[in-house]
Symmetry: C2
Subunit: 448 residues, 2 copies
């Protein structure tokens, strides 16, 4: 399903047929960008490029798909025949995954014959929107919990299979320690974490027996779930069991608390463990957490060493979508833009330059037309990744991208690192070049 | 990816190994339910059962997956060997898709050897959560726009591939006319709809030329996008072009407006069309719509015939997750429940009965233990669908389920059909049987 060429909006196909019928094959430039940051976001973290490039490289219509299109009665035989050889043959420049970016900055630029460049719109948005959304939400959690172990627990509330797996990848990229989702381990090498469910405890007649049996089954790095019946009573049972577990070779590393007042329980459990000789056993918390609740727990001094974050991460619940767009910037060398109310965009093929302060922190960005001289000391964020439909280089390792993302977060100005929306005067400066502003005015003066 | 047995949380595998090691193979009953309705929801619409049953019937570990698990070093050879033959061999009773349901009512009951019943938790929740979320959001849109053509436009903002396709299916099930997502047409027979993007208009030197060329390419049921530059000017161009389009055999059925004050534009365009002899040409609106905006447009008398609904539908943006759970209800014939604060659940294998008023509307539901005598005149909502790991009957056609969903919505009491949350006194009565309440108290008295 995920690789189907039919994973697109119908209008991409009807437009493709129209371009075909009209013989419109000149090159077009499209750019993908976000019109405005969601509420409570001071930055976004680019993610999903790897999947987007996979899609572009592999795109083709299968015989089954062509037969279905033919049967739909909407398409002409000559067009369907041409679709058989349809490939993405264009060029892509993009921001590297893990790069922090802002509103109005293209993160991906596609140049290809217009039919190809148009057709890939729906899936490119679908892929880049979601991974960027989750990497951004995860980055906020990372900023809220410096030095803590954060794990994605979100598969069950993710919107389907791909969302579950890509959320694991995007959150790891943004600094999470790993995910509970096993498939993300197999597919992307994301470290996987897991303990036990309440059902496992309940299926045993006594909680202590469940703890003992579980540790016997997998003695390496045991984490026990202690809130099924009475959290503090279970902590006391863990203390009592600890010598026997150790004697049998089990390595108890943590307990998990999943309900109630997490700060209060963590304090009491910490005290029980410290008094019981289990100072080295950590406390891991889960249960409807997000960056704000984590920050509040840590601000209150709750002795929690790690957090499992599910629903709020994997659905980006407070901002479950980006106001993103994939827009035609030029066709046959002529810059274009729509003027739809509230939705006008900057025309022409563009570059984003970033300048840094002496201490390495982000200073400001410049959005310019391609070919404008770069601002002094600025770094170009859009780099060539695909030429003639093929990757220019093997994909960077996920751990390398994760390092880049961490460096990006470190370089954020303090005002942007806060969880609350930056005040108007503190938002990050993104300058639109005078040449770009002049071009927009010129395009608008054209008759249509 | 979507069918992988590794699409699960790690703890499902570690628990499975523990059950294996302990020789725990007695039958367990798990139930899937929602703890509380999301804010602004007076009911939920069950969906996703078809995909859940597909998952259960097809579940198996491939050689690649077993090799990866082996390489992870977490699992013992005897367990991995046993996994090779692992299948879901259990029984499932469930509410039919399209059924309206409420908090605390199981919509799916699984009975199987505990390892199997436990293992399927993550993906069952992942599938049923999402489709139910979207069917419910779509049903609210349908209630807000009686008689209007509603189309899912959400693929680009859906959370990945599966979310896009399943959102199309779930919204069609709940009463939408169809979706823009082509793959939902191929996979599920969902009617597909589409027009053109602004880029298509912009790629032509003149808007009129784009209209003419598009109609020439696909003359059947043409919808033209008219807000690229100036909506009313484009409407006037459509009037001027109409005779020529008709002469060439093109059938102009509608125009689409995607920006600005949709009510004001629709009124002006309607007036231009009516004065220009295009009274039969409809107006279709899109652009960040949800059930509230649609209701407001219709309440204001906006002459809009159909709506394309994207982001808000496909992410269920105001409630992007359900507070759902899949909980052990009994093991080896003994009822179980956890007592975790704020998360206690009703123990035992249960049935949901629904009673109807004389006019056919929903009166109240009863949650009972299996084996309790049904309330007089009540209908049992959980019906057998899978026995011994195999479907009892072929899946109902999607259009039949769509009819059931429509009937369910018709039978909703007025207070629940409103978009706003029902007042406390108006929420739907779900009675927990005295025997079930007594059992919960008895289970809690057991030592653990």
């Amino acid at each position: 399903m995920n690789d189907s060429a039919l994973l697109t909006d119908l209008y991409e196909l009807t437009m493709l047929q129209a371009y075909f019928d009209e013989g419109m094959g000149e090159r077009a430039v499209f750019e993908l960008f976000v019109r405005a940051l969601p509420p409570q976001r001071n930055f976004l973290v680019a993610a999903g490029l790897e999947q987007a490039l996979d899609y572009l490289e592999r795109l083709r219509f299968t015989a089954d798909e062509l037969a279905w299109l033919s049967g739909s009665g909407r398409f002409k035989p000559a067009f369907l025949d041409w679709l058989r050889g349809f490939r993405f043959s264009g060029d892509v420049d993009a921001m590297s995954e893990g790069t922090v970016f802002f509103a109005d900055e293209p993160i991906l630029r596609v140049e290809a014959p217009i039919g190809e460049a148009q057709f890939v719109e729906s899936r490119l948005l679908n892929l880049l929107n979601f991974s960027t959304l989750i990497a951004t939400k995860a980055a906020r959690c990372v900023l809220a919990a410096p030095g803590k172990l954060l794990v994605d627990f979100g598969l069950r509330r993710a919107h389907g299979a791909e969302a579950g797996v890509l959320a694991a990848r995007a959150s790891y990229l943004a600094g999470f320690a790993g995910s509970a989702t096993v498939l993300a381990g197999q597919r992307f090498g994301v470290p996987v974490f897991g303990t036990m469910a309440h059902a496992y405890i309940e299926a045993h007649p006594f909680e202590s027996e469940a703890f003992t049996q579980f540790a016997a089954s997998q003695p390496s790095r045991v984490t026990l779930l202690i809130d099924t019946y009475d959290t503090e009573a279970a902590a006391a049972k863990v203390v009592a069991l600890a010598p026997a577990l150790k004697a049998r070779g089990a390595q108890l590393v943590a307990v998990r608390i999943d309900s109630g007042d997490l700060a209060a329980h963590a304090r009491r459990v910490r005290a029980i463990f410290d008094a019981g000789g289990l100072a080295e056993v950590g406390i891991f918390a889960s249960g409807n957490l997000d960056e704000h609740r984590i920050a509040a727990l840590l601000a209150a001094g709750a002795p929690i060493d790690g957090f499992g974050i599910g629903t709020q991460l994997t659905t980006s619940a407070d901002a479950p979508a980006l106001d993103s767009a994939y827009k035609l910037q030029s066709y046959a060398g002529v810059p274009r833009r729509k003027r739809s109310e509230g939705k006008a965009t900057w025309p022409g093929a563009k570059q984003v330059y970033r300048r840094f302060a002496a201490d390495g922190s982000l200073l400001c960005d410049h959005v310019t037309l391609i070919g404008e001289p770069p601002p002094a000391g600025a770094v170009a964020l859009l780099q060539p990744v695909l030429r003639g439909g093929a990757r220019l280089a093997a994909s960077p390792a996920l751990d390398a991208l994760r390092g880049d993302a961490a460096a990006n977060l470190t370089r954020l100005p303090d005002a942007l690192r806060r969880l609350e929306a930056a005040a108007a005067g503190e938002s990050y400066p993104v300058h639109i070049s005078p040449a770009l502003q002049a071009l927009a005015a010129e395009v608008d003066r054209r008759p249509h």
